[in-house]
Amino acid sequence: MVSLLDPVILQSILLIAISGTLICIAVHFIPVGGAPAAMAQATGIGTGTVELAAGSGLVGLITASYMYSSLPDPQSQMLLILASGAMGSMIMIACTMLMGSMVYAFGVGVPFASAQVKNDPITGDRQDLYMSKGTQGQGLPTVCFVSGVIGGMLGGIGGALIYYVLIGLYSQSAIIGTSAAAVAGVFTVGVFYVNSVIPSYGVGGTIEGFHDPKFRRVLPKDAFTSFCVSIMCGIVAVLIAGGM
């Protein structure tokens, strides 16, 4: 029997809501260009928001869960677990973007250009001159790459935090205590997908990163929606541990 008004339970639900919001914010940082980017007709990675955010976050989940199981007293090492999740996600997204860049540069033959800024805010390179005719930019300029890495970091922290909260909760449960890691892992994947889908509606399939005007326009609404939805996810996650 679980009381939803218990301070520990309330804190767990709040942490899950914060994690979900972090994942939602992370998706906005990741430069995804969807189908047009797969044809080198838009800046960013040539896939969907959900695919990439989930893919990178899940690698973070694996590294965080392994860190959790390796540490002697994991519940007192929250920051370390979050950092390992962030590291796994950042490495996944950075490797993917680097190899994607190589395909754009050597397989397709296009210079990288952002359609949203005249000069790259990090390198200062001109962008508009390098945009080929009839496209919305192409490839992964440095600003998009850095934005993607930040997104990976936030997503990894979000995923690791959900796992950290849930495994702490589930390992004390009489019902699912023996398979706490499995249930916590599956639920983390679920929350990841929920919060990766929500921003897809806001960004409309493509976003270049933090320098894209769309970022500021849609982020507050998406983050609020995600927070509300994640609270619901948190309540359900807590009830799984012991019923109502």
Partner: protein, 302 residues
């Protein structure tokens, strides 16, 4: 299981190799079946009057369909392991079942998609279905074998807290995400529009006008996978191999014991990310110097 440094590095190298093969074959499977974002052009072509002989399966997003076959393979493997099968045999049989499931989805998906294009006069070529579907199953079998082997190593030897099917699911989704992000660009932006000058950029007005003639005869999906195996597939494989290798390498090489040691592995991981950012900058610089700019300054201002 406690491993010394040499054995840990050997295991890590094996995992990296398995992931590299899985990533490469995953991308090639999506190319031979024409899945994910580039398939939008294959789907669009008949609507623009360009009938083609390219396989057209888009079961779902690439990570999800790949995760499905990997988790099916992982589940069957665990069942067989419980029945005291030899691990290698169990993984092979599990991978085969996962590949057959994907093959069934590919067949129904191809037939369904082409049937929905009847009014554009796109034929359903039975020879394409007969020749290409086994190739999809074959590619996916190798992907499943590598991913489930990876999951088996992580579960049995490295004592990861997740079960084999769940690890296979996560690696399947990740392989699909990387294949969709890396290798598919080579198929979508280069192979489908190979009649355009290399480095000229692809105008949006070209959408749907895919190349339909092969090096000899009419182009089919086997021709596409032949081309993508030269660059897109291996690039995807290297990406997934790097993810598996680099995410575990700091902890393997440093053999951490205390939280302070673990923090050092995180710092090494961050340094790797920083090096990857510099790597991307070098690639960007090279591409801009080689192909651009497309416009003069005055033209851009107007």
């Amino acid at each position: 299981m406690v491993l010394d440094l040499t054995m840990s590095m050997a295991i890590l190298a094996l995992m990296g190799a398995l992931a590299t093969i899985a990533g490469c074959l995953e991308d090639l499977e999506s190319d031979v079946g024409s899945q994910s974002n580039p398939n939008s052009q294959v789907q669009l072509a008949p609507q623009m009057g360009f009938l083609h002989r390219i396989y057209n399966k888009a079961i779902s997003g690439e990570p999800v369909s790949n995760g499905l076959s990997a988790v099916t393979a992982g589940t069957v493997t665990v069942v067989l392991l419980d029945a005291k099968f030899y691990p290698l045999m169990a993984i092979v049989m599990g991978a085969f079942v996962g590949a057959i499931v994907l093959g069934i989805f590919a067949t129904t998906s191809y037939a369904g998609r082409v049937a929905s294009q009847t009014r554009f006069k796109q034929p359903l070529y039975m020879d394409i279905m007969r020749y290409t579907t086994p190739s999809i199953i074959g590619h996916n079998f190798i992907v499943n074998f590598c991913l489930v082997s990876l999951a088996y190593i992580q579960y049995e030897i490295l004592a990861y807290p997740f079960s084999i099917p769940f690890l296979a699911l996560i690696w399947g989704i990740t392989a699909g995400a990387i294949g969709s992000s890396v290798g598919d660009v080579h198929y979508g932006a280069e192979r489908e529009f190979q009649n355009r000058e290399f480095g000229c950029g692809l105008n949006t007005s070209l959408s749907g006008r895919i190349v339909r003639k092969a090096e000899s005869g009419l182009r089919n999906s086997i021709d596409n996978v032949w081309f993508c195996a030269k660059f897109g597939g291996p690039a995807t494989g290297i990406a997934l191999g790097l993810v598996v290798f680099l995410s575990s390498w700091p902890a393997t090489i440093m053999q951490p014991k205390t939280p302070a040691d673990y923090w050092k592995t995180i710092i090494v991981g961050l340094l790797i990310v920083f090096l990857l950012i510099i790597g991307n900058r070098l690639v960007e610089y090279n591409a801009r110097k080689t192909y651009g700019p497309y416009k003069e300054e005055k033209e851009a201002a107007s």
